[in-house]
Amino acid sequence: MLHNYLKIAFRNLWKHKTYTLINTVGLAVAFGSCLLLFLTAYHELSFDNFHTNGKNIYQLYNQTGLSNKGVPMPAPLTTALKKEFPQDIKHIVRVVSGGTIRYGDKSFSKTVRYVDEPFLQVFSFPTQRGARPESALSSLSSVVLTETAAKDIFGSENPIGKTLSLQDETGWKPFVVSSIVADYPDNSSFRFDMLVRFEADPTYQLNKDNWDDSYHTVFLQLADNVTQASFEQKLRGVVKKYYAGNLSNLKRDGSQPDENGDLYSLRLLPLRDLHFDPEVGTAEVPPVKKSYPYLLLIVAGFIVVIACINFINLSTARSLTRSREVGMRKALGALKSQLFLQFWGEALLISLFALTLGGLLTYGLLPVFKQVFRSTTSFSYFQQPAILISLLIGFLLITFVAGGYPAWFMARFNTIKVLKGGISLNRTSILRNTLLVVQFAIATLLITCTVIAWQQINFLRKMPLGYNEDQVISIPIRGSINGRQMLRLLRDRLSQQPRILSITGAYKNFGRGLDGSTVTSIMGFEHNNHSVQSHWQIVDYDYLKTLDLRLIAGRDFSREYATDTTTSVIINEAMAKALGDRNPIGALMQVDSGRAPLQVVGVVKDYHHESLKRKIQPNTLIMDQGWPIGYALVKIAPDNVPATMAMLKKTWEELDPNSTFQGSFLDENTDRLYKAEERLSQLFISAAIVAIVLSCLGLFAIAVMVMTQRTKEVGIRKVLGASVLSIVALLSNDFLKLVVAGIVIASPVAWYFMNQWLQDFAYKIDIEWWVFVLAGLLAIGIALLTVSFQSVKAALMNPVKSLRTE
C-alpha cells in the first residue's frame, strides 16, 4: 500500500509541476531563511552562556536617579565590598584595558586586560597548557595568553616561561607567560589576547585609595545562595556608607530619585544580560537590544506562516483535481483516517524535501550571509541536541498544520458528490481568502516596518555630527613611542606637506576605531553649590581646527598661553549650560580639590562626541599633560585620498617601525557604532523581501488556479462582448480586495510597533503618513502585477478554445 501511495504521490507531484515547484521552492526558501534567522538570533541570545558560573556572575554598575548608568568604578570600592561581604561575594574581579607588548625586538598590537587574580576562576576560558586557573595569575609578573596570541607571538616555540615586555606609561616591564587559555568563543562579550594582574597596572598605585577616579569595571561572582535582589539591597547600605558626600550633593541639587527612592545606587547586571544592555555592556562587542533577536525569531515565524499559508492554499486548491481519486478510494472502502494519512504523508514528503533543500541552502549561503551581515554565527549550533530536537519538533508542527489541514479537507470530501464531479474551488474560498489577507497583512507589516527602520537609520547616518568626519583620520598610537612624542614627530615630518591640513591628538577616539576600543571618562565636581558631571577629553593643539569645531565664545588653545597646557579648558554648550554661569568664559572649575582650579577659555558649539543614541552631554576639552594621548587625528585634503593615506602609513611606520598603522576615517568609526543596528535592519529588509516574494508566489499560484476555474466563464463573457480590460478588472478585483484588507489591518499595527521602537532613540524621525500609503501602494502594485499576469492571459484567450475545454 505504501508503495502505491508513494507512486501516486510522485506522479501527482510530477504532473502538477508548477505547484510542486512553488510549494517546494517556497517552503525551502522559507525553511532556509528561518534557519539563518534562527542561527543569528540564537547566536545573539547565546552570548556569554558558556561560563560555568554564569548564573552567579554580575557586572556592577551605578545608577544616578532613574536612568543615568555608569560602569567605571573606583579601585577602593572593591576593597570595601570584599571587607563588607566576605560571605556573599565568592570572587570579585576588576578589569581595565591597556598596554602594548613586545617580544624580542618585535611589538604586537594585542588587547591586554589587567584583571584581578580570580579572573580565570570566575570566567570559563579553559586552560590549554601551563598553570591552572587558580594559580595562573598568582604572580604580579605573570601573563596569560590566548592560544592565537601565543601562536602569533611565539610561533611554534613553547611559550610557557618565556618573558614578554609590556609597555605602560612608565616604560617597559617584563612578564613571564604562565599559562595558555583557549581562544574566547565568538559569543563572548569578553575579548582579550592577554591577561595580566590588575595590580600590575601603574595607575593602580596612584588610584588604589582614590574614590574619585572611576576607571575600571567590576565583576562579581556571588555565593550560590545569594540572589541579585538581596545583594542589591545590601549595596544600598554600601552607598550610604561610602558615598555619603555624593548623596548629599545629589540631594542638594534636587536630583530625581529612582523607583526605590534612591538618588544613587549600585546595581548588578547579570552576565547573561551583558550583551543586551547598550549602556552597561562591554564595548568590544557592541551590545544589541534584547528585543532584536526575538524580533528576528518573529520575522522567521512570519515567513513560516506565509509559507504555510501558501502550502495550505495550494494544496487545498489542488486537492480538488484529486477529488475523484478520493471518491473512488472511499467507494472502494478506504477509511477517512487512511486518506488523511495518505495526503498528510504526501505533505510530509514535500516538507522533508524542502527542509533538506532549505538546510543545504542555509549551509551554502551561511558564509555569504555571515559576510553580508557581519554575523559571527555558526552552523555548528545545529550540533547541539537540544536545538536539533526543538527544530525537529517545530518542523513536525509546521507540517502537521500545513499538511494536516489540506489532508483533513480532502479526507472529508463527500463521496457521492465528488463521484458526480460536483466539487468546485469556491467552497474553500472563505478560508483561502482569510489566509491571503493574513499573508498580505504580514507582508505589508514587514514592508512598512522596514521602510521606517531604514528611514531612522538613514536619518542617524545623515545627521550632521557637528565635526568634520570625512576628512579626518584617527590613528591609534600603540607603538613604542609615547603619544605626545609621536605627535611631535608627526608634526615635524608632515607640517610641510600640502595634503596634510592639520594635526592634533586626543585621549579618546571618535566612534569605534580599528583598535576596537571605546572609552568613556566622566569627571564630577562641585560648581557654585551644585554638582556638575562632564565628559573629559584630553586634547592637543589644533583640536578645534582639525575637527572644524565651531568656537562660539572665547578662544582656542594656543601656544602663546602657558596656562593652556595646565588649567585652561574649552567646554561645549551643554557644559556651559550645566555650569550655569551667565558668562561661562573665565568661569573657574574646582575639579580637583588639591590643585589649582581650571578656567574656561572657550565654548564650542555642541557636537556629537558620543553615539547618536544619546543626547549631547556636557563635554570638557583639556590639554592636561598628566593624561596620555591615545590617538593622532590628521585632517587631510579631500583630493587624492589613497595617496595621502599611503604617505601617512609610510611616514607612521618609518617613525615607529614597531607599530602597525591603524588609521581610519572618523565617519568609518562612527558608522561602526551603528553596525549592530544597521546589520539588523539589513536583515529585516532581506527577510521582508523573502516574505513578500513568498506571498506573491502563493498569490500567483492561487491566481493560476482561479483563472483555470473561470476559463469557461471568461469565454462566455467574451462571446457576449466583454472587453479584455473589463475581464482583467473583473478577475483582479477579487484579489485586490483581499490585499487592501491586509493593508488596512497591517498599517495600525506597524504604526504602533515602530512608534515603540523609535522611543529608544534620542534623535528620531516622525512617522509620516505617506509611508503607509507607499507601503500599501507597493503591496497593491506587487499583487496586481502578480495577478494581472494571469488575468490578462485568461482574458486574451480565444473564447472558442476555452469553451471547448469544458
Binding site: M1, N4, K7, A331, L332, T415
Partner: protein
C-alpha cells in the same frame, strides 16, 4: 440477498427540500440482474448510492445480506463495502495518476491481499476484460470503451457479491456499450448480483427484471424470463 423497506431520502438545502426517494421497498435475490429505469431526476442514482452503502437513507430499513445497515456510521459502511460491492460509473472514475494495472489493483490493496495473489487476480481480471495489453497505460491514453472495461475490471477484481453500475454505457458508443453489457451478463452468469441504472431500453433488456422509478417511487416492475 438485499432487501429495502420503505426507504426515504430527503435532501434539505437552505432554500429547498427535495424528497428524492418516497418509500422504496424492493428485494434483490442473489444472482439477480436488476435494471433501474426512469426519467432524469427520479432518484435512480440516489437509490443506487444507498444500495451501495455510499449514503444513508433518511428513513426506512436496508438489510444488506442480513445486516441492517441504514443507521451505520460511515466507518462501518466502509468496512462492509470493502470487497463486497463493486462500482461501475458512467464517467468511469478511474484515477488519472495510476496505470490501468494499478487502478485495478487498488481494491485489493485496501483488502490487504498478499502480493502474489494480488498479481494473479489483477491479471485475471485484466485478461477477462480484454485490457491486459494496455496494463501499463494511463486512463487518459485509453478510449472510452477501454476505460470502462478497466473500471469493470476494478469492480470485479475483489470478486464482490454485488456490482452496482450507474449508466455504465452512458458515455459509450453502441459497439462499446454492447461489449460492456456482454461482460456484465457474463459476470451475472457466474453468479454475481448486478443492479444497473440505465436510460437505454436495449440495455435494460439484458436484465431479469426492470424496476421503473418515477418521482422517487417504484411504479412498475417488469420481469423477463
Amino acid at each position: 440477498m438485499i432487501q429495502t423497506v420503505n426507504l426515504q431520502k430527503l435532501f434539505a438545502t437552505e432554500e429547498v427540500e427535495t424528497t428524492a426517494l418516497h418509500g422504496i421497498s424492493m428485494d434483490v435475490r442473489d444472482g439477480e440482474f436488476v435494471a433501474i429505469m426512469g426519467p432524469s431526476g427520479c432518484g435512480k442514482s440516489t437509490l443506487l448510492n444507498i444500495l451501495g452503502l455510499l449514503d444513508n437513507p433518511t428513513a426506512g430499513e436496508y438489510h444488506f445480506y442480513g445486516t441492517e445497515v441504514s443507521r451505520m456510521s460511515e466507518r462501518q459502511r466502509a468496512q462492509l463495502r470493502k470487497g463486497s460491492i463493486g462500482f461501475v460509473f458512467q464517467s468511469f472514475n478511474l484515477i488519472d495518476e495510476l496505470t490501468v494495472y494499478e487502478n485495478v489493483e487498488l481494491p485489493l490493496l485496501y483488502l490487504k491481499t498478499p502480493a502474489d495473489e494480488r498479481k494473479a487476480r489483477v491479471e485475471e481480471a485484466l485478461t477477462r476484460m480484454n485490457i491486459m495489453h494496455r496494463r501499463n497505460h494511463f486512463p487518459q491514453q485509453l478510449s472510452g470503451g477501454q476505460q470502462q472495461r478497466t473500471a469493470i475490471a476494478r469492480a470485479v477484481v475483489a470478486k464482490p457479491k454485488l456490482i452496482l453500475a450507474d449508466e455504465p454505457t452512458g458515455n459509450l458508443d453502441s459497439a462499446n456499450g454492447e461489449e460492456v453489457m456482454k461482460l456484465l451478463m457474463q459476470l451475472n452468469d457466474e453468479g454475481t448480483t448486478i443492479i444497473m441504472v440505465t436510460h437505454s431500453p436495449y440495455d435494460a433488456g439484458f436484465a431479469h427484471r426492470i424496476v421503473n422509478l418515477f418521482d422517487g417511487k417504484i411504479v412498475t416492475e417488469n420481469f423477463h424470463v
